[in-house]
Symmetry: C2
């Protein structure tokens, strides 16, 4: 950790993280045949304030709520989908086809949000040439070239912590601008690259912590 580059952390306004929740909920409601929904109902499901819901929806969609009826679900969904960029097609790639790497490569949920993980890279010769979730696994040596050739800008790091910084450096050197980091290392990147650390154990630990703090009251 000698270098003096910074880790750019992802910070986001809360509205951004609520919008996907509205989207999920509305899709669920839509499937159940619900045609219109009030901000109070949405707020109720998500345990937040109805005014907040209206503000968020007003900011992200063109749908006007109707007094007495609430919002039409269908246009809300399509506007949210566009706003959230779920109908744009984005390409990402993954390095480190271990347990977690396998899971992500095979995960069906990315497609719906317009994301395609196009390939995996690993140094294990047994994996090379195989397919995981329909995606080819390439040797590490091919990575630099592959990134540049396809102009990939989004990389996923699922290698052990020891190798994470090295993989990261290669990514950055070849034009990657956003990194989804599952290793436990704090990555050093130039200012113009964003890193989102996804630490599953920490995530669960935060939940157990919260459970405790609630139980204590």
């Amino acid at each position: 950790m000698a270098r003096k580059q910074k880790t750019s952390l992802v910070v986001m306004t809360s509205s951004r993280s609520r919008l996907p929740l509205y989207y999920s909920l509305l899709r669920q409601l839509s499937q159940e045949g619900v045609k219109t929904v009030s901000s109070a109902t949405i707020a109720d499901y998500l345990n937040i304030n109805p005014v907040l819901v209206r503000k968020d929806l007003a900011g992200a969609t063109h749908v006007c709520g109707m007094p007495k009826l609430g919002f039409e679900v269908a246009p809300l969904l399509s506007d949210l989908k566009e706003y959230l960029g779920y109908d744009n097609y984005d390409e990402a790639f993954l390095v480190g086809v271990g347990n977690l790497g396998h899971t992500l490569l095979s995960h069906k949920g990315f497609k719906d949000l317009g994301i395609n993980i196009v390939a995996g890279f690993d140094k294990n010769p047994d994996l090379i040439g195989k397919k995981v979730g329909g995606k080819a696994i390439h040797p590490m040596e091919r990575m630099d070239d592959y990134i540049k050739r396809r102009g990939l800008r989004i990389g996923i790091i699922t290698v052990p912590s020891e190798c994470a910084q090295e993989v990261c450096d290669h990514m950055v050197a070849n034009g990657v601008r956003a990194i989804w980091n599952f290793s436990f290392t704090m990555l050093n990147v130039p200012e113009n690259v964003i890193v989102k650390n996804e630490n599953l154990p920490v995530s669960l630990a935060l939940l157990t912590q919260q459970l405790k703090s609630i139980s204590e009251q």
Copy 2:
């Protein structure tokens, strides 16, 4: 989605989500032999304000920074570890031993944070009796009893969305108070149960979104 129960969402003060970052960073620094560190250095790595770092540390530890030298890494680490509850032992269990379930059961990182995923449950007869990551897989029918007998309060849902609510109901009925939900369903739970939705595709989508919004500037 007929019931009128609410989904309790996890909301947390930002300090809470920064503390694990300090912890990771400090552990990394400590391994490199660093003995003391200034708030400015920490802030630099994490791209945040040094005053914020001092405030957070003052709130979570008893360590006083020394003018001109900064903070001692070792006591900071042990205080943070205690504050974050990483040295308390917590038990969780997991339902749905598919791809993601396998990954979580085998994940080495939980132990460090004091979390033990004690068992997995699945309805697939081929899995029953096997071990994944050293943890036994039991049939679904055993779940209710198992939860009660061991007094488990933290459940992990990695089943397909269609089954998620049903699994959730069983958990709640048997005393589970916190649910880590990897399905795409918004779960209905009583007010005193907390749900943390972990939607990996949405997580990546938020990152790509942010990348776009930065690129546009």
